[in-house]
């Protein structure tokens, strides 16, 4: 019987690239190695897991019962509202609806809003309700006492579902708020699926655009941690109320603070 030609034994796991040391310089997915033209399975599944976290964040929901249980410790009343978008599918395709209150919520706010306030705080699910579930409680625990000590009158804390940033404009107007602070789940990235953004707007009313606001973003323990975020927001909100403006006019100040 003729000898069969020697077969190279299959190598199950591709070797890492010799330049893997460069990974120290960036969080980018470099030096992944390859099997043929494919990314090795470990790296492929790590990517898939990160995307799964981001997708789950987009479809996550406000944990209202837990949030309601946390917020009374701040001694503030809470109200729940919804946008005109009925579900996630509508929310993703109709940003205009996510900026408007549902008819029902509008009527409810008209009925329940009393008097006026300096700051109305709105917790909006945005593109990651998990960000609110995880970070809103700890952040407010630091920020609300600062605002109180400075003598600002706070409105009820609003929980807004299927909501975009601009929903705060209509809510703020109905509450007679001088300023709205919208905490909202940011668009999830592969490395940060649960990042919180904070937008504030002086003189809220429907029809305002992004130039009228300021934003502090990437609030999470691995990004901008709660104490730093609370200090920064407190400073900026104070400045906005003192100078009676927000948006581009206030921008220089926040840059100074960042520096």
């Amino acid at each position: 019987m003729p000898d069969l030609p020697a077969q190279p034994s299959p190598t199950p796991t591709p070797a890492p690239d010799p330049w893997a040391g460069l990974q120290a310089f960036t969080a980018a997915r470099i030096a992944l190695g390859r099997s043929g033209t494919s990314v090795p399975l470990g790296a492929a599944l790590a990517f898939k897991l990160a995307h799964a976290h981001a997708r789950d964040a987009v479809y996550s929901q406000l944990n209202t019962s837990e949030l309601l249980a946390t917020i009374p410790s701040l001694q503030l009343p809470t109200l729940q509202v919804r946008s005109r978008a009925q579900n996630r599918q509508e929310y993703l395709q109709r940003p205009d609806w996510g900026r408007q209150l549902s008819e029902e919520s509008r009527a409810q706010l008209r009925e329940q809003a009393r008097g006026s306030c300096d700051v109305a705080i709105i917790l909006a699910d945005g593109l990651s309700a998990t960000a609110i579930n995880d970070h809103a409680g700890p952040l407010l625990g630091l920020l609300v006492p600062l605002l109180r000590q400075a003598g600002f009158q706070l409105g009820p804390i609003m929980l807004a579902e299927q909501a975009r940033v601009a929903i705060g404009d209509e809510i703020g107007q109905l509450l007679g708020a001088r300023l709205t602070l919208v905490l909202i789940g940011e668009r999830p990235g592969l490395s940060a699926p649960h990042s919180l953004g904070a937008y504030f707007t002086y003189g809220p009313r429907p029809g305002l655009t992004d130039e009228a606001r300021n934003c502090v973003s990437n609030i999470r323990p691995e990004g901008l941690p709660y104490p730093a975020a609370a200090t920064k927001l407190f400073y900026l909100v104070q400045e906005a109320l003192r100078r009676q403006l927000s948006g581009v006019g206030l921008k220089d100040q926040s840059d100074l603070l960042a520096a």
Binding site: A15, D17, P18, W19, L22, Q23, F25, T26, A27, A28, R29, I30, A31, L32, G33, R34, G36, T37, S38, V39, A43, F47, K48, A50, H51, A54, R55, A57, V58, L92, Q93, R94, P95, D96, L127, R187, P188, G189, L190, S191, P193
Partner: protein, 462 residues
């Protein structure tokens, strides 16, 4: 002028050409958001039936955005080449469709016809084509451009190496850049999206890219994708600018929202040409576009987003760019909802760009709030490879950590070249062979620590 079509007893009336185009457009979320989409499946096909009978000459008579109000309309109509158009001047949109898919419409014929086509004609006919026809016709177009290498040759696929970093950290960018080169990426351009438009920061990036390119004598070009006004400022300061980048749109109002005008682009084009840095050619502009940009700037004038997009290509072709790509899945699910819509839009954009004579590439991409994933991107990537797409992006592991979206990886380009037998730009491939990265047959050699590039890393990584 109204257009109409009767189906059974139902008469559909479309009040003008832009309404007809919008109703005839395949379904996508952005047109629904704008309130211009067909209300029913039947209305969409009724519009397509009516559109098929519209003479191409109507597009020269009926401006979709008024001539007096919009410099993009003026550009389109004032630069229309009547002689090139003459051969198809008697066609309807439907006849153009039947001719385009026939064997008579070969590459040289389409090339000669390009100046006679307006973006609106091309957008219109794309609405009557299926995906396979968008692919088959675009594949015949060979659009060649040059700066330090040759892009767009038939049978080639180039990549933009995109080594972004969230804080523009020079070491982080250099690390991704070296990784990309070692995977054979970067013949279209090495292009960074900067985290800030600060001129000093952009200048640092330009100098770093230029130093790496010089150090290893790489036959390619670099670009920092900042605003055109920043580039102009840096050109005045003698920064090493190879290509001038700008995002552009299909209406004057969209461009105003980007802080640009045709005259500003003209100024930037002339300033970049005057640097005379290209060794093989003088295509010096790099443009990005994307369906939905006009609506997002509230500057769409009631047009559907695909027609707006095609009009942006008229802006691009005015400046003989080296590279143009649509960032198709980047703008978000309110414009293109899912993988199906992204794939359709990408094939339309590639087709329209190529028919208008542009070196059309594509950012095959999606965001995490779109109903899409890597499988959709693999499908689109493969389709675009078959369609002869000029270039795609090269992002480490497909994950752009600065822009927060997923594009194509270095591996994706290797896959596409392998399954379709495509090559990198010839000058770049010769460099890859000389560096010991490629094997002379267009394939990667096994990774080795003895590569020249690794033995002498760029100073930014010391």
């Amino acid at each position: 002028m109204p257009y109409r079509h009767v189906i059974r007893q139902r008469a559909y009336v479309f009040e003008d050409l832009k309404t007809l185009l919008a109703r005839a457009s395949p379904l996508r979320s952005g047109d629904v958001l704008a309130g211009v989409a067909a209300a029913t499946y039947e209305e969409r096909v009724a519009a397509q039936l009516a559109l098929a009978d519209v003479p191409l000459r109507n597009f020269l008579r009926e401006a979709l955005v008024p001539y007096e109000q919009d410099e993009v309309t003026r550009l389109i109509l004032d630069t229309h080449d009547a002689a090139a158009f003459a051969s198809i001047g008697h066609f309807t949109v439907g006849q153009l469709r039947d001719w385009l898919v026939s064997d008579a419409a070969d590459g040289p014929t389409l090339h000669a016809l390009a100046p006679g086509l307006t973006p609106e004609m091309v957008a219109a006919v794309s609405k009557l084509l299926r995906n396979q026809e968008l692919i088959a016709v675009a594949r015949r177009c060979e659009i060649i451009t040059r700066f330090r290498n040759t892009l767009g040759l038939r049978g080639h696929l180039a990549t933009r190496l995109q080594p972004n970093h969230p804080t523009d950290d020079l070491r982080g960018i250099a690390a991704s850049l070296v990784d990309g080169l070692l995977y054979g990426s970067g013949d279209a351009v090495i292009g960074i999206n900067p985290a800030t438009d600060n001129p000093q920061a952009v200048s640092q990036l330009l100098h770093m890219l230029d130093a790496v390119r010089e150090q290893y004598a790489i036959p390619t070009q670099s670009c920092v994708l900042c605003h055109v006004t920043t580039t102009l400022q840096l050109i005045a300061q003698q920064a090493p600018v190879d290509l001038t980048f700008q995002s552009i749109g299909g209406t004057e109002a969209t461009n105003t929202s980007f802080g640009i005008s045709l005259s500003l682009l003209q100024e930037a084009w002339e300033a970049t040409l005057a640097l005379n840095r290209g060794t093989l050619g003088d295509n010096v502009m790099y443009f990005e576009t994307g369906q939905g940009s006009a609506l997002s700037a509230n500057a769409h004038h009631g047009l559907d987003q695909q027609t707006c997009e095609a009009r942006a290509y008229a802006v691009a072709r005015r400046f003989r760019p080296l590279l143009v790509n649509s960032v198709v899945g980047f703008i978000g699910p309110e414009y293109l909802y899912d993988g199906k819509q992204i794939i359709r839009a990408a094939l339309e954009d590639h087709f329209c760009g190529k028919l208008l004579g542009l070196p059309m590439g594509m950012d095959v991409c999606y965001t995490n709030h779109a109903e899409a994933d890597q499988d959709d991107m693999d499908t689109l990537l493969t389709l675009l490879g078959v369609a002869g797409c000029t270039y795609i992006m090269g992002v480490p592991g497909a994950d752009d950590i600065m822009l927060g979206y997923q594009s194509t990886s270095f591996h994706d380009a290797l896959y596409l070249r392998r399954v379709l037998g495509l090559r990198t730009a010839p000058e770049f491939e010769a460099w890859l062979n000389q560096q010991g990265i490629f094997d002379g047959q267009g394939h990667l050699l096994p990774a080795s620590a003895t590569l020249q590039l690794l033995e002498k890393l760029p100073p930014a990584l010391h």
